[in-house]
């Protein structure tokens, strides 16, 4: 499995816009989590009566729960296949806060369930912690009143040595969300909202003590691990991290996704350490106490 690039994700977003406007588009060679979450959420909002894929992709789409996520009845019988080479976590709708931890746990397990003992518990915990934060953000920002809950899914390719997790919501987006709070509105003036939202301490709800940990963690882990790809896109503003380098930009209008998409893909044999990201966070001013344990 080739590593996914931010350009591939954006090409797909352009194709998705064609699909929504024209009713059909050429299918990609493979479906990955970022295809599935964006397609399913966009179609759920549009409310089609019918959805089909090329024959070669029908079984996979069915196993990943695309029709259910869109709100349709799956037209094919889902066959359980031997999963020696890949491991899947089907589309999960984040319908209540209590499920956030469960979904994060299911997503994280995908990458590690094929690992020979001993399990790299620190990496597994790091992915779980990052996903818990991202999934809670996604739940908090989704348009729940419109029945447009956030979606998440994951896949690991054991032979290819990679895993990808994608999470999406159709909320108002990072810029609008940050601009509605007087304490963060100034931060995004003249700046890329996707870039700003990944900085430590930036949250649209700072008065509640929120610090936007999820995006900060995802960016920090990706920057510390070459080979990892982190992609954040919110209503046309994007930040990507590849080869440890972050870059933020505005995507062309035909590639805009009307929601917030997070894609995290990494080589599963590389240890991920959330503690190194914690250690990079700024200390509180004043008395620093190391003697809590």
């Amino acid at each position: 499995m080739e590593a996914t690039t931010p350009a591939e994700v954006e090409d797909w977003l352009a194709d998705l816009n064609v699909l929504l406007q024209a009713g059909g588009v050429n299918a990609p060679p493979f479906l990955k989590p970022h295809h599935l979450v964006t397609l399913s959420l966009a179609l759920r909002e549009k409310g089609p009566n019918f959805l089909t894929f090329p024959e070669r992709l029908m079984g996979y789409a069915a196993r990943m729960g695309v029709w259910e996520a869109v709100g349709l009845i799956c037209p094919v019988v889902v066959k359980k296949k031997r999963e020696a080479a890949v491991r899947l976590c089907e589309l999960n709708r984040l319908v209540d806060r209590q499920r956030v931890g469960d979904v994060a746990d299911k997503l994280a397990r995908v990458a590690f369930s094929n690992q020979p003992p001993p399990l790299d518990k620190d990496s597994c915990d790091s992915v779980y912690i990052m996903l818990s934060e991202l999934a809670e953000n996604c739940y908090a920002h989704a348009r729940i009143a419109d029945d447009l809950h956030g979606l998440a899914c994951a896949q690991a390719w054991y032979r290819g040595g990679r895993a990808q997790i994608a999470i999406v919501d159709s909320g108002i987006g990072l810029r609008q969300s940050l601009s509605e709070n007087p304490s963060t509105a100034g931060l995004i003036m003249g700046a890329n909202a996707a870039e700003v939202a990944t900085h430590y301490g930036v949250s649209s709800k700072p008065e509640l003590g929120h610090k936007g940990y999820g995006l900060t963690l995802a960016r920090g882990i990706a920057e510390a691990n070459p080979g990892t790809m982190f992609y954040l896109h919110s209503h046309g503003e994007a930040l990507s991290v590849t080869n440890g380098e972050a870059s933020s930009y505005r995507v062309p209008v035909h590639q805009v996704f009307p929601g917030t998409l997070v894609v995290f893909e990494w080589p599963i044999d590389v240890p991920l350490r959330v503690a190194s990201v914690y250690a990079s966070w700024p200390d509180a001013e004043g008395e620093i106490d190391d003697d809590f344990f």
Partner: protein, 111 residues
């Protein structure tokens, strides 16, 4: 009042990932501290998220203050990576608490 009690984090709540879960556990810990002079928090088997840790431990230290927290709460079975997170959160919240306490212009309240 009991002298000491043990608070096994993974037994007190099913889900330990979210802010709301941390808030609930903070309330339970504060309640326990009303009955016990000292509480040992056991983190065996717990993967701490920053949001959960902030609501659970950060808000507890904000309520108690740094000195009382250190005197009355002991944390055991904490992984090395969780220690880095907890130190960060406790220092940040203790700092906030001391700023609040030293500001004579504020009307203060606790949830």
């Amino acid at each position: 009042m009991m002298t000491s009690s043990r608070f096994v984090v993974c037994q007190e709540a099913d889900k330990l990932a979210t802010r709301s879960a941390g808030r609930e556990l903070c309330a339970q810990l504060i309640s326990r501290l009303q009955d016990s002079l000292h509480v040992t928090l056991d983190f065996q088997g717990v993967s701490l998220t920053p949001s959960f840790a902030d609501e659970f431990l950060g808000m507890t230290i904000q309520r108690l203050g740094r000195d009382q927290f250190k005197r009355r709460v002991t944390m055991v079975n904490v992984s090395e990576s969780a220690k880095v997170l907890i130190r960060h959160i406790l220092n940040a919240r203790a700092r906030q608490a001391s700023v609040l306490e030293s500001d004579p212009t504020l009307i203060r309240q606790h949830a």
